[in-house]
Amino acid sequence: MKTFELNTTISNLQSLRESDLCTYDAVYLGNIYCRSFQENFLERLNDLKDGIAYVKDLGLRAYATSYGAPRNDALPKVQKALEAAVEAGADAIEVHNLGVLRMLHEQFPGTPAHIGGFANVYTDAGASALKDYGAVRFTPNYEISLEEINAIADTARLPAEILVHGKMPLGISDYCFLLEYEHKWEEKCPTLCQKCLLLKQGDWAMRSVGKGVLSGKDVCMLEHLRALVNAGHTVFRIEAAYESAAYRRDIGKIYRSALERAFAGDGRVDEANWDSIRQHTEIALCNGFYFGRTGGEYIGNVHEPAAVCRA
């Protein structure tokens, strides 16, 4: 049976140690949105080294991520983080910013680069250009369809990493507007953005993480894994940087089992999984842009909404 990789994202050492990662093959370490995120691996480089060692001791691949939109003042720290990660034996570095990709390629040649979603790979030409900079895998921009992703991966001969579950990034910002609420809520950075903060407009909802916005609904491709496998995809992510250890554990377990069945030719979904998914879903499920529809739509047999936001 073809092997696959199921990975997830963890922002700091405490969350890493709290997480049951037995169903994962790899972990991305670091928070891409904010330097002030609590004990961010990308700022605490001894933690980053410890985290890489911890993950590798578990028999998993350890990847370090990097900031999505760094300004000049962040670059020295980015450079040090790359150095720490490479020194500690990180299996790859995820880059969302093309300047960081250049830095990685120039200063740490031969280090595999995983292109992140904010790098805006929309075409095969774009993907091919990044291969020249050491890219060995890419996360397509989140708003392109599976049909396009498949074409890019085939033409550029670069494996795609597919978000299969979790809140999809919708944007990144240079400014954290949550800081405006420190006095009002008596809640300070860095704990502010870790609250469940939703932005709602009618039926629409998004999750604010301060310097980033995520979808309010969780992308869920559980019913479509067989199609992903048939298209040749082998790398799958559970987006969980702002989720609980229980989310990471339970969702990971569901997808591990489902992917093993999908790779064995069985695309059926164990109905018992939906209860667990619902427990971990604040708003509802969606398929992102994979099927050429608005990112908030869901195609599948699961129609009823998950846990309803109480607002």
Binding site: V100, R102, N120, T123, S173, D174, W185, F289, G292
Partner: protein, 312 residues
């Protein structure tokens, strides 16, 4: 909110930068040139971010290029959407024809297209659009490596950041000093198309899903400019617009020039011709004063809120 700080009374060494104004129509291009723009940037119908507002058809583009020739000014063509793979060849062929007609500069948003244009049309100067999200020194170096002639940085990048970039790169730095600073970084936002696909629904079979940068399909519904309820742990705690502000750093023009900025860019292909002319005149006046190295004691003009690109 616009800057109204007094310009400092210090001697400036003479600095020169091109003034690049938006032109969503031939009238706007005419106004911009008359107001003192050294160049205008225009969109080609179907190929520029923002859709039908602010785009010229090929005939309009040719007329604009002719106008530029007569006035000894320049035209940059924004092809800053991301073509589908099957469209790319046709777009490149179209650019060959336009280059033969005198086009000398394009603005792109996609690294693949940048590389293709640089390789296949070396006579064209290629600017990396603000939508590509360049923010730091290594971003600029990356695009320089790929063959770009210029990179556009947003107006919230500070002069000292630009000075640091200029010491280590050779390509031209453009700064969009008159723009809306959005809540989400330009080029890194697909919130509207996550929520709604109004434009695509009308011609669903013909269109790609996605945001404004996908070209004419998605649209920025300015979702961020409508009130959002903020919920914390399930309870409503606020109702607000998402942060966004018009910035216009004309009062700091001297600092940007001292930092080495090559092009001062004004956002707003959706602005009326009259407003394009008005904003351009303000920047022209300020730029000329700085270029002549004249010590200036004055309050920088407070640009009326309506002189914004909110309607773009």
């Amino acid at each position: 909110m616009v800057s109204s700080q007094p310009v400092r009374n210090i001697a400036r060494r003479g600095r020169c930068a091109m003034l690049l104004a938006p032109a969503g129509s031939l009238d706007a291009a005419t106004e911009a040139f008359q107001a003192g723009a050294d160049a205008v940037y225009v969109g080609l119908k179907g190929w520029s971010r923002g859709g039908a507002r602010g785009e010229l058809d090929r005939n309009g583009l040719r007329q604009c290029m002719q106008l530029a020739r007569v006035t000894r000014k320049q035209v940059q063509l924004a092809i800053n959407t991301i073509p589908k793979p099957p469209e790319r060849r046709g777009l490149l062929q179209g650019l060959v024809e336009l280059a033969d007609s005198g086009l000398r500069a394009v603005i792109v948003n996609d690294i693949g297209l940048l590389r293709d244009v640089s390789r296949e049309l070396p006579s064209l100067s290629v600017t990396v659009s603000i939508g590509a999200g360049a923010l730091n020194l290594d971003d600029v170096r990356f695009y320089q490596d790929l063959g770009a002639s210029a990179v556009v940085l947003p107006g919230y990048v500070e002069p000292q950041e630009i000075a640091a970039i200029k010491t280590k790169t050779v390509i031209a730095i453009e700064v969009m000093l008159h723009m809306v600073e959005e809540f989400i970084q330009l080029g890194k936002c697909w919130i509207p198309s996550y929520l709604h696909f109004a434009a695509a629904e009308r011609r669903r079979t013909e269109c790609l899903s996605g945001s404004v940068k996908r070209g004419g399909v998605g649209a920025c519904f300015r979702i961020c400019q409508r009130p959002w309820t903020v919920l914390k742990d399930g309870r409503k705690v606020d109702c607000r617009l998402l942060p966004s502000r018009q910035i216009s750093r004309v009062a700091e023009l001297g600092e940007y020039l001292d930092a080495g900025v090559d092009v001062i860019k004004i956002q707003g292909r959706s602005l009326s011709a009259e407003l394009v002319g008005a904003v351009t005149r303000v920047y022209r006046s300020a730029l000329d004063a700085q270029t002549r190295g004249r010590a200036v004691i004055r309050t920088a003009p407070a640009l009326p809120p309506m002189w914004t690109v909110q309607g773009r």
